[in-house]
Symmetry: C2
Subunit: 221 residues, 2 copies
């Protein structure tokens, strides 16, 4: 009997293209930042707030992943950043070949940072390496502090975790220590930030971290 593990084949193909994306980002000198989360964790609001701060220092482009609709990409366009909309038409994650296609449509020579807003999903996006310098995730306070127990792969593959909507932490009895404890077991190096993109709290600290990461990459060349 021949046994073909289709998932393994798909992930192996994806890994090859992710390496090409990494090489492209190195040669063109841009920093690729992948942002994952559940639906409604506040990715778009967070990205708009980050762009407002980071664009004083860097030129930014955006890749918007959506199953359907272009509402988020339209918001990005309105704030003046070059934006590519990827419509998966059913697929629940972005993969490296999709990112390669999107990068071809962006003015890479001019850009310092390319932000990927992934599909709202804590499962499959974690399996697909996109070649990003910074794989990251948002977790919103209303989702609860126990999500690392339930979606361990996502919390394992990210370098940064941004807890969003902290302005309503009291209302939801969110336990930051429990979150830190649960994530530390999976990923001891994970950097954890707390923000309210709506009110601005914590955004400067996060953007300072990101700015340092981008500059370090530029220095390494």
């Amino acid at each position: 009997m021949e046994y073909i593990d289709l998932k393994e084949c798909i992930l192996a193909d994806n890994a090859g293209v992710a390496d090409q994306v990494r090489e492209l980002a190195r040669s063109k000198g841009f920093f690729l930042w992948n942002i994952m989360s559940s639906p409604g964790a506040g990715k778009t609001t967070f990205i708009l707030s980050a762009i407002e701060r980071l664009s004083k220092e860097f030129k930014i482009g955006v890749i918007e992943g959506d199953i359907e609709s272009t509402v988020d990409a339209e918001k990005m366009q309105r704030c003046g950043v070059p934006t590519v909309q990827l419509r998966t038409g059913g697929d629940c994650h972005l993969d490296a070949p999709m990112i390669m296609k999107a990068l071809e449509r962006l003015p890479l020579e001019e850009l310092d940072i390319v932000i990927i807003e992934n599909i709202g999903n804590l499962v499959c996006p974690a399996e697909f390496d996109l070649g990003a310098d910074l794989p990251s995730m948002l977790l919103s306070v209303p989702e609860g502090d126990d999500k690392a127990l339930k979606y361990p792969l996502m919390f394992s593959v990210c370098k940064a975790l941004v807890v969003t909507k902290i302005d309503c932490a009291q209302l939801f009895d969110f336990n930051f220590e429990a979150l830190a404890l649960n994530t530390r077991r999976l990923n001891p190096d994970l950097k954890i930030f707390k923000v309210s993109a709506k009110e601005g709290a914590g955004m400067d600290e996060f953007c300072q971290y990101l700015s340092n990461e981008v500059k370090e990459k530029i220095k390494r060349g």
Copy 2:
């Protein structure tokens, strides 16, 4: 060239087993209720609150779907209902064969309602018919009122939509009219409920609806 649409094959196989689940539910006389949502929308809290009310009238069993962890199933056990934990070990949705396996472990002769707590994901679970009498979804207020635009299949396949965490609607500027408008286009028959499982608001109305659905099924035989 041979062309095999793997997705189509998987969904066709699933549909066959979903029909077997439906026939089993008819012959044993139980009502199968599938609950889907994003991670952290409040499925477990909502189910515990519903069981508290419905168990005065019905015998209830629960199938808990999780990628990892048994924290939710333990909560169900503690409230005294027969519970089966399905651990997918990576898969981002439940399918009909998994439900068939779980049903074999439940005392079906004694049960009136079997509740399925699906994996937290607004994408893939919508594609898999589980043979449920009531496919339903929760949408929590903090996720926002625009989710039907982004995850249209989920809002199309459900018969009931329960908006949860309404106690914090003011804080998040949640527009119920926008939600109703967006869902009506996709699914004009969708029943929409508003609840706060934590505070109890709206739970009696929802449970009255569910009780009627169960009794109608029993009457039909």
